[in-house]
Amino acid sequence: MKFTIPIGPQHPALKEPISLRMTVDGEFIRDADIRLGYNHRGLEKLAEEKTWIQNIYLTERICGICSHSHSTCYVQGVEKLMEITPPKRGNYIRYLVSELERIHSHLLWLGVAGHEAGFDSFFMYTWRDREVVMDILEMISGNRVHYAINTLGGVRRNLDEMQVKKSLEGMEILKKRSEYYFKIGVNEPTFVARLAGVGYLSKQQAIDLCAVGPTARASDIPRDVRRDDPHAVYDEVPFDVCTADTCDVLGRVVVRVKELMESYKICDFLLRNLPAGDIAVKAPRKAKPNEFLSRYEAPRGENTHYIKSNGSDKPERLKVRAPTLANYAATVEMLKNGFIADIPLIFAAIDPCICCAERTVELINGRTGAEKIVRFSELRKLAEDRFKKLPPKRNAVWPL
């Protein structure tokens, strides 16, 4: 007998509000319905009212974990619009912070996967090691999240000798610890029993549903923007695209740990071969009328920003397509025919960054089917009117 369980918008398995309505049949899931819109902040509209410089900080705050991805993707696009190229040292520092962010994001994800599976000790250990990366980032940029190291034309802060040395030491420590996690993840029997065979997404399905990032790479599709579209430093740095072929959550864990090891190698290369020179070029205030689509490999997949300028000092349109939005369709497919007990793991395996992927709420009239998009103030007024019309509640029961 089927009934609908709501997972979210408030649920301990989710770090951000999203509503998944599951139609279940015993312990099996038959269908899933994803509803967005709980965290919509109107950032794309706000970006049209701020100048190019101020938008760097706005795009950074689309997300906390992948903040540098959005900032870099935006700055790459605007630099192309303004036709300036950042100097080599600036590029090296910018993508060094990118790889450090990838490391921190994957370590965070490993901990969250452990916590969703009930493996709290693993969660504590990976987050303890993530502190090493956070300290390095704080030393380089001045803050643990929202690094704000990008600026139009390069980066804002330089790296001196001591910072380079400390970063290299941090990488060494992390390399040893990550190899240990690889061993644990594949060998601890209760953990593997939770992850193996869960959330199956075949290669053809992944291609049809446009999965991106580690979700696609775990289904043996070697899709990586750094390899497909090499720009800035990625044509000089040697690295491999990591794939796995088990197509399930265990494959995604393996892909992310392999990517961790690749990121350590890339950071090592970048730190040892930092070229001398300037860190930024001067950027003009206005950009010529043009449009550009900027792509970037965020820790969760391919991030695209579409930027259009009209000759003034503010953008005309900024559209963000975060990687999680591309993975939602694949998630619905993965959830079908799974167990209820696996919902948090399957959903966490795509590394959801729900605030990146927000879209507006659309009201559909139940009787006529007409659709309209309403303002927040109108929604609030609707809620208050309904509350006033409800019958008064009977007394709640207090005594034990």
Binding site: R156, P189, A280, R285
Partner: protein
């Protein structure tokens, strides 16, 4: 498939010091370039309003108190500030910038109006430096100051 593969690591941790710090009785040090709250060196400011224009959160307000004496008043709304340090980068004063970030990170309070800071100052005069020859490419990271 090994059983209890995690066990030696767990037992080793029984004898190590905990990785967590007993905050608020012990605090950690912040690094040198930490971005705390912005503050002004009133004697150096030339009231060009570059920081006010570039602030993404509209957290800086510069008002003219008296035209004749060239007195200005700057209010920094630390409750709106996002601690990005763009004001420090935009400030064109050399060699020491008029805006600087301090190292405070415990700035929570009960009332947002307690977090605003005010300075009154007389506009300073920017000493013109002799242009070095040959002209080097400028290494300042972004937009021109309002004065040129």
């Amino acid at each position: 498939m090994k059983v209890a593969v995690f066990l030696p690591e767990l037992l080793r941790h029984l004898f190590k010091k905990p990785a967590t710090v007993d905050y608020p009785f012990k605090k950690l040090e912040v690094p040198k370039d930490f971005r705390g709250s912005p503050f002004l060196h009133p004697g150096l400011c030339i009231a060009c309003r570059a920081c006010e224009r570039d602030c993404p959160a509209e957290a800086i307000e510069i008002r003219s108190v008296s035209e004749a004496e060239k007195k200005f008043e700057m209010v920094i709304h630390n409750d709106r500030c996002i601690h990005c340090a763009q004001c420090v980068d935009s400030c064109p004063v050399t060699p020491v910038k008029a805006m600087e970030m301090d190292h405070q990170f415990e700035i929570a309070g009960f009332d947002r109006h307690d977090l605003k800071m005010k300075w009154e100052f007389v506009r300073a005069v920017l000493k013109k430096e002799p242009k070095p020859a040959p002209p080097k490419p400028e290494s300042s990271p972004q937009s021109e100051p309002a004065q040129s």
